[in-house]
């Protein structure tokens, strides 16, 4: 069952760079010490520049120390180094020695403290890329997936050694992957995928490999390193560590500088601009702009110092990952419903909490048919203009744009952080648009959307929370009613597709009843409580309205609700 018969070609790609020694990420890990040193120095420059004098710098450090001490006490993780408490109380003691009355006298010791903190952060963030491990992990992933796949699809246990079905039959890569390969040769690529599941990182890692691209560095949540299986993958694939608990200025600046310096070095990178997995199931609307901003700075830096624009160009490639099924959906949506409207600290504790559960999921995933599609969007420059096959920025009328022009003021490329922040905001808006355009509608998404909208209309006097508490009897939907609405919604999707506003899976084209059945079969198929299914009378019932709401949300933002 091809997801998009028109553009999907199963194909083996040669690596774009033959030997691993040519990979920028390998170069980076070779000169790691030097690289980290430059990250530390640059971060300190940025942090110091943001403070008028040693007094306010000391205050910043003081605040950081306070927050960190609190974190150590209240929210410790397995991955935290054992000397965390000792380190921060040491900092406290040294800060006490710098009296406020004559702060400039202690300038050197304050700078030394800052250096120590930044160095600690930079070394924690640092990735541990090892080419040998990378290759081994690759092989294990490929081999393991393939074996599982064949055991389940091709009848008989002996077929576990068959090569009939490959990973590419399960995970389909559609869209502009050829362009992506070219861009990775022409400049530095930043992949920005949507984020729905913890599986995304592994999946994208596989896609990068399958397309013959060199490894990308990416920021993975430090919490993932709590889980043994993930830690192994992450450490192998060039991940650097991002700790969402550390929201202090010094940490964030060090993190951004790390990403900026790696981009300047030509390392392709990957980050999820939504920040965390979408709790609601909606495609990200608000992006975290911090790391995009560091890409912006890297681009300007290259233009300022590199001269040769082509070699230093940074490209942004949006990626949308489509699942029928998100393992964590019930936990995510509950989290969303609980904390809607307020940002809260929460303890990660969901279905992805240990290696065993993940393995079970992977096994189920490969033994029952549920497809995943990864759609690679058109490449963008950092101002959100499309780039052509060769990486040239082009405007709406097809004329070439010189990216340097955006950074020029009175004839020269200049650093203007406020301007770059504004550009980053604009880029974020373009990425959100591209996410919606590249999203592929699956039968299950549409079924969930239709069912939930019918209930919303039926109980228009109830607010969301009351609606989610409607009893099973009251939420039964007659098949006729469902089918009619589904058809209307489907027509609307076709139209949006014609207008280039959304992609559709090819399984959506076919007999209406079959499309509906396909959607019902696939929707949340491994959840213990199915979000939508047919009862004995053939009518539709839901065993879990929250999760139905989650899958419904995938199609919000297209104005589809007005059609139903």
């Amino acid at each position: 069952m091809a997801i998009d018969g028109d553009s999907y070609v199963k194909k083996i790609f040669d690596p774009i760079l033959p030997g691993s020694k040519d990979w920028p990420v390998v170069q980076l890990s070779k000169d790691r010490k030097q690289f980290i040193e430059s990250v530390i120095n640059e971060s300190i420059k940025v942090i110091t520049a943001a403070h008028a004098d040693s007094g306010s710098l000391k205050e910043e450090i003081e605040q950081t120390r306070f927050k960190e001490t609190l974190r150590v006490k209240q929210n410790p993780w397995n991955v935290d180094p054992d000397d965390d408490p000792a380190f921060w109380s040491g900092i406290k003691a040294r800060l006490l020695k710098t009296s406020n009355s004559d702060i400039e006298m202690h300038k050197d010791s304050i700078n030394a403290i800052l250096h120590e903190i930044v160095a600690r952060y930079a070394n924690e963030i640092r990735g541990n890329f090892r080419p040998s491990r990378y290759k081994m992990t690759r092989t294990i992933v490929k081999f393991g997936f393939k074996r599982l796949l064949n055991a389940s699809r091709v009848k008989g246990f002996a077929s576990i050694w068959s090569n009939k079905v490959t990973l590419q039959d399960k995970i389909q890569i559609t869209g502009e992957f050829e362009q992506l390969r070219t861009l990775a040769k022409k400049g530095t690529v930043i992949l920005v995928p949507t984020h729905f599941s913890n599986l995304d990182s592994i999946l994208i890692g596989w896609v990068i490999h399958a397309l013959g691209l060199p490894p990308f560095i990416y920021g993975a949540g430090l919490n993932l390193f709590n889980i043994g299986l993930f830690a192994y993958f992450m450490n192998s694939l060039g991940a650097y560590k991002v700790d969402r608990r550390k929201k202090n200025f010094i940490y964030l600046e060090t993190l951004k500088t790390y990403s900026k310096m790696a981009t300047i070095k030509g390392c392709h990178s990957l980050f999820f601009p939504g920040g965390t997995r979408s709790r609601s199931g909606k495609i990200e609307k608000k992006l975290k702009l911090g790391l995009l901003g560091s890409a912006m700075e890297a681009q300007r830096h290259s233009l300022q110092h590199g001269g040769n624009e082509e070699a230093n160009k940074v490209f942004v490639v949006p990626v949308v990952i489509n699942y029928h099924f998100v393992l964590e959906a019930p936990a995510l949506i509950n989290n969303y419903l609980q904390s809607k409207g307020q940002e809260r600290y929460y303890v990660e504790n969901d279905s992805f909490s240990n290696s065993y559960k993940i393995l079970m999921f992977l096994f189920k995933f490969f033994t029952k048919g549920s497809d995943i599609s990864v759609s690679i969007g058109k490449g963008l420059d950092l101002l959100g203009n499309y780039v052509d096959a060769e990486g040239n920025s082009i405007d709406k009328k097809g004329r070439f744009i010189n990216v340097a022009d955006y950074f020029i003021s009175q004839g020269n490329v200049t650093a203007d952080l406020q301007r770059e922040r504004e550009y980053t905001r604009m880029l974020g808006e373009v990425i959100v648009k591209e996410f919606h355009r590249n999203n592929h509608v699956f039968s299950s998404h549409l079924a969930a959307f239709t069912a939930f909208e019918i209930l919303k209309k039926r109980y228009s006097h109830l607010d969301l929370y009351d609606l989610l508490r409607v009893s099973k009897e009251d939420s039964t939907i007659g098949y006729e009613e469902f089918r009619n609405s589904f058809e209307v919604a489907l027509q609307h999707i076709y139209q949006l597709n014609n207008e280039g506003k959304v992609g559709i899976a090819s399984h959506l084209r076919g007999d209406l009843n079959e499309v509906i059945d396909h959607g019902l079969y696939n929707m949340g198929m491994y959840h213990s409580k199915r979000p939508l299914l047919k009862n004995k009378q053939g009518d539709l019932i839901s065993n879990d309205l929250n999760t139905l709401f989650y899958y419904h949300n995938r199609l919000s933002g297209y104005g589809l609700e007005n059609a139903i």
Binding site: D395, N402, Q410, E422
Partner: protein, 349 residues
């Protein structure tokens, strides 16, 4: 950023109407200025006689008939043309414009981007209505966009009376450029980040200016005008917020400042429209005899449809719409407004 740099590249002004000319003269005190006019005879007049729109030009101002020349010689350009010509101007201009250009416009109108707007749809939403800064971004590669708004009656600027303006942009760089180029010892320049809000101030105040003219035409005095200005501002804020502006802009120089100036000036075109309406003329007669556009008329048409869509309460606008397009008399409109059941004075702060 030193003055040496400034003198090297001239500043462009596109549009040689009364406001464009006044701004060109202010800019000319610090920089060379290239003043563009579409009409060759106007450029001729600028070059040979040193006069534009009846104003004597500073010696630093020279005329041009070529958009290409403006774009290639100037990095910073002030487009100041009527809103009805704005989109076509930017379209013609866009092939010469690059992302390094800075455009600060001074046009106080709205643009309707759907083609058959005359096919009477009674509602318009925000996506169908564009501000001038949005047109610039739609039609060209320029992103560093700003606008100029405030109590800046062209006549008084030309007479070198003291005044102030607001330069609004999302970019500090643009605001700083505006301040650097425009500010002098009798012209103060304020900055704002709320580009849309400040643009809307300039646009929406024209509605109230027509009403103010109408009050004068009826022979009413300052109590009536003060009532109009304060209630008019409330309407501006309701509508402005629905369209994406912030309240702050409306209580600033570009909002209440410009509103007071425009409503008090018997010279302004929008005021004149209202005055003549109250004297019993109809819209056709008035527009036929005016040589520059009164932006307020078109703004009322568009704003009325916007209020229909967003269900914004705007009785003054509604009555003006009836007077302009539905043959209600000014007197009847006023009677209706005086009977309007007002409840609270201010409910938006």
């Amino acid at each position: 950023m030193d003055s040496k740099m400034l003198s090297e590249k001239p500043v462009g002004v596109v549009g040689a109407g009364s406001f464009g000319t006044a701004i060109a003269n202010i800019l000319a005190e610090k920089s060379k200025v290239l003043l563009y006019a579409r009409n060759e005879s106007v450029v001729d007049h600028i070059e040979k006689k040193g006069i534009s729109s009846g104003q004597l030009l500073h010696e630093n101002v020279s005329g041009s008939n070529e958009l290409e020349e403006i774009a290639s010689k100037c990095d910073i350009i002030f487009p100041i043309v009527p809103s009805s010509n704005f989109r076509s101007l930017i379209k013609d201009f866009s092939e010469y414009l690059h992302p390094y250009h800075i455009l600060i416009h001074g046009t106080k109108g709205l643009d309707v981007s759907i083609q058959d707007e005359t096919q009477e749809s009674t509602k318009l939403n925000r996506n169908q209505v564009r501000t001038m800064s949005e047109i610039i971004q739609d039609e060209s590669l320029v992103v560093r966009v700003g606008c100029l708004a405030g109590p800046n009656l062209a006549r008084e600027l030309a007479d070198k009376q003291p005044a102030a303006t607001v330069v609004a942009s999302h970019f500090d760089e643009v605001i700083q450029a505006g301040i650097r180029l425009l500010r002098n010892d009798r012209f103060q320049v304020y900055g704002s980040q709320d580009l849309i809000g400040v643009e809307l101030c300039g646009v929406l105040k024209n509605i109230i200016a027509i009403a103010s003219g109408a009050l004068s035409g009826m022979g009413y005095g300052e109590n009536a005008r003060a009532l109009l200005i304060s209630r008019g501002m409330v309407e501006m804020i309701y509508l402005g917020r629905a369209l994406g502006g912030n309240t702050e802009a409306f209580i600033g120089l570009a909002g209440v400042g410009d509103l007071v100036a425009t409503c008090s000036s018997t010279l302004s075109r929008n005021f004149t429209v209202g005055y003549r309406l109250a004297q019993g003329e109809n819209l056709q007669q008035i527009t036929d005899s005016m040589d520059e556009t009164a932006e307020g008329i078109n703004t009322i048409r568009i704003a009325k449809k916007l209020t229909n869509f967003y269900k914004v309460r705007a009785p003054i606008l509604e009555m003006l719409h009836k007077v302009l397009f539905e043959n209600l008399t000014v007197e009847e409109a006023l009677q209706y407004l005086m009977k309007y059941p007002l409840n609270v004075d201010i409910d938006f702060l």
